[in-house]
Symmetry: C2
Subunit: 304 residues, 2 copies
């Protein structure tokens, strides 16, 4: 069973009682900068500040009573952990989140505030997987992957579904691509509308911390099937787009969301009607990418 439009429609009904139906924002200044008519699906205003809450909620609410009872688990340094914690809380089941010790205090506090048990580990994929395996073993919880999961992909697609319900005549929809969950869900939801995915040139060290991963076979297959056009953007373009959005639309968006705006800007869409899935707004206000200390760190990281 693969992800099709019917599963996105089902997900939309399933999660409706739990998620915000986020607004679609317009801005003259943004239209001018992109040189197109831009419709921003404001998932930075979603609960937990990211579209991730849609997929986590769809997965958690899809579990059977007995399947859900022992809780859900994931490793995450970011939005998926917070989303899963709140989704589990909404169903009244436990959540276990494995986080690297390097995750900021603010991010750990957010996951704990939503009621999850946090287990810290070293910051390598191997360490995260090993500690998560222990947690699953100890608790009997169900693992919910941040993107390599059909329920999560279908849930992610509901943002674009709402956007096309509100703005039916879009020419193109632009999303960021990290693991490909948001972009593949969007493809399924809006087909046959053209989809563009923005992706950072260097995924390992990008400022767009939510995109420091690659597609799975599952998400890659969906992107290929829908002929998604990938646009590669540089770090300076990501930071520049983020700053344009903050200054001109007064919206706090995170670097991963800025990747979609940077891609829309680079795509030369020339007067088209463009939907942008603004994926999230969780950003460390003490380390903004245009502060000089952060810029130095990014340059070092890019060289290293």
């Amino acid at each position: 069973m693969s992800v099709d439009r019917a599963r996105v429609d089902e997900a939309a009904v399933r999660i409706a009682p739990f998620v915000h139906r986020t607004p679609v924002l317009r801005s003259h200044a943004l239209d001018h900068w992109v040189d197109a008519h831009v419709f921003v699906k404001a998932e930075h205003l979603q609960r937990v500040g990211a579209f991730k809450y849609r997929g986590a909620t769809n997965a958690v609410q899809s579990l059977t009573e007995s399947g859900a009872r022992r809780g859900v688990a994931a490793h995450s340094s970011g939005n998926h952990g917070a989303a899963l914690a709140l989704a589990a809380d909404a169903r009244g089941v436990p959540a276990y989140v494995v986080m690297p010790k390097t995750a900021s205090t603010a991010k750990r506090a957010a996951v704990r505030r939503y009621g999850a048990e946090v287990t810290l580990c070293d910051d390598s994929l191997d360490a995260r997987r090993a500690v998560l395996a222990e947690v699953l073993d100890r608790t009997g919880a169900v693992e919910i992957h941040p993107f390599d999961d059909e329920r999560v992909i279908a849930g992610a697609g509901t943002a674009a579904l709402e956007l096309t319900q509100e703005v039916p005549d879009l020419d193109v929809v632009v999303t960021p691509i990290g693991g490909g969950g948001l972009c593949s869900g969007t493809c399924v939801a809006v087909a046959p509308i053209r989809v563009i995915g923005g992706t950072p040139r260097d995924r390992a060290s990008t400022v767009a911390d939510g995109l420091r991963t690659g597609c799975s076979a599952r998400t890659k297959a969906i992107l290929d099937e829908h002929d998604v056009e990938q646009i590669v953007v540089d770090e300076a373009d990501i930071v520049g787009a983020m700053r344009v959005v903050w200054e001109r639309t007064k919206q706090v968006i995170e670097p991963s969301a800025a990747v979609a705006f940077a891609a829309a800007h680079a795509a030369k869409l020339d007067g088209a009607r463009v939907g942008v899935i603004c994926s999230g707004g969780n950003v460390d206000l003490d380390a903004l990418p245009w502060s000089s200390a952060t810029s130095r760190q990014l340059r070092r990281s890019a060289r290293g």
Copy 2:
């Protein structure tokens, strides 16, 4: 002729073709922080990023054809200059803005982008007044004061008028107070609803740069007549409130707007229905008040 409700109603009709009817924002996290039901009138999403565009537009559109022809002028280091420039542009008349040399490049560029002629001067009130007098003399333009003007006060009141149209059963409305234009216009618009004005403890050196001024006899008389309760807030409370709004609502607001949120928080409104006029969102992203360099500067400034 003083400012009464009829003049606010007239202003609302006069400026409607030019201004955004800004949304009213809600946030669970903000409700929790203020411990009340908070309705945010989002004037940071107004044109030029501030409520000031309402008053400037009402003043410029109130001028006779012959009165408007030679243009309008003001001295301003901030939002009033940009608002007047765009309001004049909308009527197709010249604008002359006197700005201190210390105004940021971004602010000067914004005023010029809206088509005004900018004259730089030294950063003292005497220097500003002297240079503005020369400009008025040379051009024959009409001076539009940023707050000590009945048309500007009536225009400012239209934000609260729209808020009460959308949320008719408010218990209290909170605004910042600098020159008192926004707060006095709000009083007139929403009477007999209770109005609270937040004001920084040290107006001369506050981080809330839009409030570094005092009321005029005209605005003070209106505030007194309506028994406005003034709540004094400290610098740390302003910065803290600004950060709460950025982090939890993902909205970029300026320190002057944060003064209203800080006052609402301090007022212990205990479950009331509270309107907050979020006055603007123009902030220098290179000098945020929680960055260490800016904090040092503020501490120095507070000592000096």
